[in-house]
């Protein structure tokens, strides 16, 4: 085969390589880096710590409420006792 024709035919490999490259470029590459960054989870250890704080705060709040009830009940009893003694 003459050299010119040979080189022309050899170029078909480059054309096929280019075609394959373009085909791969059309494959869905999944989530973008921005999408992945936007859905990054919080550090699980920090979440656990926050959850523990939340539970401790809820407990403290419930205890404070119970104590307030107790104090009020005591106040009512002593007020009633005083009123009863006075009456």
């Amino acid at each position: 085969m003459d050299q010119e024709q040979f080189e022309k035919e050899l170029k078909q490999f480059d054309d096929l390589a280019e075609e394959f490259k373009n085909e791969l470029a059309n494959v869905d590459r999944g989530s973008t880096d921005e999408q992945i960054a936007a859905t990054k989870p919080r550090d699980p250890e920090l979440v656990k710590k926050d959850a523990a704080k939340h539970e401790a705060a809820a407990e403290e709040s419930a205890l404070a409420e119970a104590r307030a009830y107790m104090d009020s009940a005591k106040a009512i009893i002593s007020t009633l006792a005083a009123a009863s003694a006075a009456g």
Binding site: F20, V27, P44, D50, D71, T79, G87
Partner: protein, 187 residues
Amino acid sequence: MRYLVILIALVALTGCVTGPVAETYNLQKIHGDEAHKLAEVATRQTMARYSSSMASAWRKWKRHEAKVKALKPSGSLTPEQAQIWAAKQGDTLVKGAEERDDLLNELDTKRALELEDINKLYANQMVVLASIVKGWAIQGKITSGQMAGWMEVAKFGAVAYIENRNAKRLRREAEEAAAREAEAEEG
């Protein structure tokens, strides 16, 4: 006089009900943010999408490989031309395989990363939800509406879990298919 005293005492008691509230941590916000992220990842159908892309890359490669191997010169070649032809054919195949592997590696890395994130989001959701419900229980504040909300959000976690499980299966199937193809090629 006695009734007036009782009335004052009752008013004081009512005031205490809404009295001091300990500092609360904004877990509901964390819960909302994480649930939103989890839903977003699930909506992207992450795992099915990556498996489909990887399969597509393999199909395109097989077609390309066949075309390159089928390429024949139109006439007879000198020994030197034949050597150049064979080298060019081999080089085209090697470069194509490298490009294919680069893409497969990129997809695999992203899939693993997102899978790990889904697992973490799911675990975070469970920790946060359990804590919130526990807090409500401690304070006696759980209502049926809140319980329904809990169930609704727990579904997000379940969706992610199922997607994760399916992804593992799809990945195993893809790897098995690739191994079979490799074996067939060698054969």
